[in-house]
């Protein structure tokens, strides 16, 4: 009964995956059926391109900064949600909204918030007197501001996900553990770092790993928010692969760019396997 699912996965995940490897060493392009082997030429051309190097750097910067923020904020929020308070289920529902909304539509909402003429953020900055006379932020027309905008959306989207996972982890720690720590005279800081953190480590790594996978491989946010601009300075690997491989029609080059996602994904998968195996033993 396992066979149909396995066959489907092998055929429609395995075959395209191999094809991605094959295409990356050919000069395949969208318009022609002429395909010939070109060895590592695509990879060599790609690593010399400044746009690609910038995209590679951006991918890491976006993932690292946003996930660092998500983990710090997620821990604060999950701890706050552990307490009982009035309206807790409503708050939980509202906090979850960013994760449930389709990413392309949520990004459109942010595109309107970061609009160059009508940005509500600029209005607030002006009203509180942060802007000097004539000063203005063109959020998506400036590399640094654009990167801040992209990271903001990633944090906003992944925070609910990490929070609910961390919350599940916190609630799974038996209260006896805390009581025992109290009896042994542990203060709140000692309890946080010597009791809660070690017990949360497996679940924390699950939250981080999924967060990294989703952020690292995403192209929707960049594609819809900045289209990689201004001057290709905010591209990530995935959006650049789309621009070159699909819009530009250079399939071989696009495949080569997308394949740079692979080493990180493999490392993440291995770490995940380690964790799941260790958790099984405990």
């Amino acid at each position: 009964m396992l066979a149909p699912a396995l066959a489907y996965i092998l055929l429609l995940v395995g075959v395209p995956f191999l094809l991605a490897l094959v295409l990356s060493v050919t000069n395949s392009s969208a318009g022609s059926l002429d395909v010939s082997f070109v060895g590592l030429q695509n990879f060599r051309a790609v690593v010399k391109s400044p746009v690609f190097l910038r995209a590679l750097r951006n991918t890491f910067v976006f993932t690292f900064v946003s996930q660092l923020l998500v983990i710090v904020m997620g821990n604060i929020l999950a701890r706050a949600l552990m307490k009982k308070f009035l309206g807790k289920s409503l708050v939980r529902f509202l906090i979850l909204l960013p994760w449930a909304a389709p990413i392309s539509l949520a990004t459109l909402g942010w595109l309107w918030i970061f609009d160059s003429t009508f940005s509500v953020i600029n209005w607030v900055l002006k009203v509180v007197g942060y802007f000097g006379p004539g000063q203005w932020y063109f959020w998506l027309g400036d590399t640094t501001l654009g990167m801040i905008a992209i990271i903001t959306i990633h944090v906003w989207r992944m925070l609910p996900f990490s929070t609910v996972i961390l919350l599940a982890g916190l609630s799974s720690i038996p209260s006896e553990v805390h009581e025992a720590a109290d009896i042994d005279g542990a203060g709140p800081l000692a309890k946080a770092f010597q009791v809660t953190l070690p017990m949360m480590l497996p679940i924390l790594s699950v939250a981080v790993l999924f967060g990294v996978v989703f952020t690292f491989t995403d192209m929707s946010v960049v594609y819809l928010l900045t289209r990689g601009g201004p001057y290709n300075s905010t591209h990530v690997l995935a959006s650049l692969a789309f621009q070159d491989g699909v819009l530009g029609g250079d399939v071989g080059r696009g495949a080569a760019i997308a394949l740079f996602l692979l080493p990180v994904l493999v490392v993440l998968a291995v770490v995940m396997l380690r964790i799941s195996r260790r958790a099984e033993v405990v």
Partner: protein
């Protein structure tokens, strides 16, 4: 451990401040969608440099114009139907493949079962951004370019692994004795599964239906790559790609479309959240 009263008060205030801050951060874009959807254009398009005009509130009476435009003059309803069409077929394919697979994996003992189930889960992590280029080749090879059927064929590549994984956890909670006793009573194995196991698994299957559906509605990359005709798009692709004509953004209708699509999804998600977390954290929480 009794804390002094002012200190406890400070803790409570800090706690509420954290909750309020994060809630506002999470809902602000949705609040902004609501305000934008119902504002008159003359209230909407006032430059942000005008500090006299407060953009957070309705300065003029709300209007339904943007909704009328969305439903009357755009293909939004068509996109909704396309999404539903793809969704229903993908859910059906997903159930046909994932239910038997999950059941067998749950009952398979030993190293092999474990390896296979982890392998299936790992395929969920193969991102669409790694596969969309070879897929676009394969799709045109089988003549499905710019066809909604390409999505029906390809979307199960992410729904099947995820749903198999979720269902597997669910089947593991059903004791083996359930179908064994049915078999003692004269059922065949298939009969036991059909008459005893599946009815017990209805909550799990319902969860999977919801998640497969939401994954389909949320998907953007494949839809963007394979579908070029506006009237064949799904909501997640049609709204950002086709509602923006050239450089003209109809923000009122755009935000209304985002809002109407996102909120029902969020409500559904909320009901099934706990199972969703369980699916992601199998093994890490004991």
């Amino acid at each position: 451990m009794t804390r002094s009263r002012p200190r406890r008060l400070a803790f409570t205030v800090g706690h509420r401040a954290i909750i309020v801050f994060f809630t506002l951060f999470a809902i602000f874009p949705f609040y902004w969608m609501v305000v934008t959807s119902f504002k008159q254009n003359s209230d909407l398009y006032v430059g942000a440099s005008n500090t006299q005009h407060n953009p957070f509130v309705f300065n003029q009476p709300p209007t339904l114009d943007h909704l009328r435009t969305l439903f009357g003059q755009t293909l939004y309803v068509t996109w909704l139907f396309n999404t539903l069409f793809v969704g229903v077929l993908v859910v059906a394919i997903t159930l046909l493949l994932a239910v038997p697979a999950a059941y067998s994996l749950a009952r398979l003992t030993g190293r092999w079962g474990e390896h296979l189930s982890i392998g299936i889960f790992l395929t969920y992590l193969v991102p669409s951004t790694l596969l969309f280029i070879p897929f676009s080749r394969l799709v045109s090879l089988i003549g499905l370019q710019n066809s909604i059927w390409s999505l029906v064929v390809i979307y199960p590549t992410f729904t099947v692994p995820f749903c198999t994984w979720l269902l597997m956890g669910f089947f593991k909670t059903l004791p083996r004795e359930v179908e064994e006793s049915a078999m003692v009573d004269g059922c065949s194995r298939v009969g036991a599964i059909w008459r005893v196991v599946l009815p017990l698994a209805v909550p799990g299957i319902l969860t999977v239906v919801i998640f497969a559906m939401t994954l389909v509605i949320q998907e953007f990359v494949y839809g963007l790559t394979f579908i070029s005709s506006v009237q064949k798009m799904t909501v997640s692709v049609g709204i950002p790609v086709a509602l923006v004509r050239g450089d003209v953004y109809y923000w009122g209708s755009l935000m209304a479309a985002c809002l109407i699509t996102s909120v029902p999804l969020a409500i559904l998600y909320n009901f099934f959240l706990d199972r969703f977390i369980a699916g992601f954290t199998v093994g890490a929480i004991k």
